[in-house]
Amino acid sequence: MIVNLDKCLHCGGCVGSCPTNAIFLNDFVLEFSSKCNRCGRCVKICPVHALTMEGKQ
């Protein structure tokens, strides 16, 4: 997952919405774990479109 740090507002919305609990927000840094199954939910619902999936632009 690619995080656009210029867009991300560190709101944690993706963290709480992730069906596999694969995201961790440490203040300003989003970390994706191997539990990520590339479902794309976080990409769709980010209020500022700060996330894109690798291989898909």
Binding site: L9, G12, G16, S17, N21, K44, I45, P47, V48
Partner: protein, 396 residues
């Protein structure tokens, strides 16, 4: 690894966490509350509007320090501009306050400290610790150092992120219908009514959610939007909010001085918010009003209940799920019916087309509602549009 021992560790120093920490400490429990951010109550992830009545119920004295503005009314505006306005002519129209969350949250944290709780700032929980299948504490990063906090019970007050419960084995996963994605600007120099909260509804304004204007005095307002997640694919919340602000003449000479984002759950709460040695409170337990997205009063209530129940559990030295069940009963007795009713109403309202919403708002404006709340509005809807409330009319 540095290890701390306590009776209760509270993860998150929002309103739910601070209330839980306060009531645990008051009950004589050795309580540590951790907060991952560098400041309690900031950055903002909230529209800051609350009603007034519940403050007394949880023992919070209204304080001008954190009350930013006192509302005398509310306006609900339909897609075509029909308005329902509740004004001063309606007796007892106590709508609510707009808060300064960064001060409100710190005031609650102060109360927790005064009761004897310890706070560890910039300390994020990274996992729970289980020994022989039993929860015995949390792993943390504290000021860059890995630490362990061992506790007899954990209060998960980690807000919408709600990870602590999931690490412990409580499923807090949400459906797309039950998520609203939100963004908000703090607008300044806006030409808005300083005493009215405004709710703009309709699919072309805020699909599956609403767009709010909460005044904070002196031409300042929180202007934000929640869009149901299933209608989001490419930053819809920001696009809809920007469109509204660009076209509304009240913001012609106005600019944003702060941007906040966040999400809210709009489900009726978890199936069960306790397990052995753990209680989930507030947003973490998905206990939020599904219509308004309001969660502060629910967080304060559940935090207080958690503290009271943990105090009782400590007397017997039993923090098992069974021993914690009185918490489950307390929040359900107080809030479950209303949460369920508003969840059903939200599902139905999200399906309505803009013409029907126009009709609904016209209808409400012609009715004699004394006090604006979801219950009173739904009563009118039930009378005139029974189809909208089919299946949960018993709750209205």
């Amino acid at each position: 690894m540095k290890t701390y021992n306590c009776d209760v560790v509270v993860v998150g120093a929002g309103p739910g966490g601070s209330m839980a920490a306060k009531f645990c400490a008051k009950g004589g429990l050795n309580t540590i509350m951790i907060e991952k951010k560098a400041e309690i109550g900031a950055p903002l992830r909230c529209a800051e509007g609350v009603s007034k009545k519940w403050l007394e119920e949880v023992g919070i004295e209204p304080d001008p320090t954190w009350i930013c503005a006192d509302m005398v009314g509310a306006v609900i505006r339909s897609p075509s501009g029909y308005e329902f306005k509740l004004d001063e002519s309606h007796a007892g129209s106590e709508v609510g306050y707009v808060l300064e969350r960064h001060l409100f949250d710190k005031a609650l944290a102060r109360d927790a400290v005064a009761a004897g709780a310890k706070i560890m700032m910039r300390t994020s929980c990274t996992d729970v610790i289980k020994e022989g299948g039993k929860l015995v504490g949390v792993k943390c990063r504290s000021m860059g150092e890995e630490i362990v906090i061992r506790a007899k019970a954990i209060v998960a007050a980690d807000g919408y992120e709600s990870q602590v419960g999931r690490w412990a084995g409580i499923e807090t996963k949400l459906e797309m219908n039950d998520i609203d994605s939100c963004i908000q600007y703090r607008m300044v120099n806006a030409d808005i009514d300083p005493e009215y909260c405004e709710f703009n509804i309709g699919a072309k304004i805020a699909p599956g959610g609403y767009l709010w204007i909460f005044p904070k005095g002196n031409g300042v307002a929180n202007v934000g939007i929640g869009v149901m997640a299933k209608f989001c694919k490419d930053s819809e919340p920001k696009k809809y909010l920007d469109k509204f602000i660009e076209t509304d003449p009240r913001f012609k000479n106005s600019q944003a001085v702060e941007v906040a984002a966040g999400m809210v759950s709009t489900c009726p709460g978890l199936d069960c918010a306790v397990d052995d040695n753990i209680i989930l409170v507030g947003d973490a337990a998905r206990i939020i009003d599904p219509i308004t997205g309001g969660g502060i009063c629910h967080a304060c209530r559940t935090g207080m209940y958690a503290g009271l129940v943990l105090t009782e559990c400590a007397k017997k030295g039993d923090f098992s799920k069974e021993a914690l069940m009185p918490y489950e009963k307390m929040w359900r007795d107080r809030m479950e019916d209303k949460l369920y009713r508003n969840w059903m109403a939200k599902e139905r309202l999200a399906e309505l087309d803009d013409e029907t919403i126009d009709e609904l708002v016209k209808l409400i404006s012609g009715s004699d509602i004394k006090e604006v709340n979801v219950y009173n509005l739904l009563k009118v809807v039930k009378e005139k549009f029974p189809k909208v409330v089919e299946g949960f009319e018993d709750l209205i």
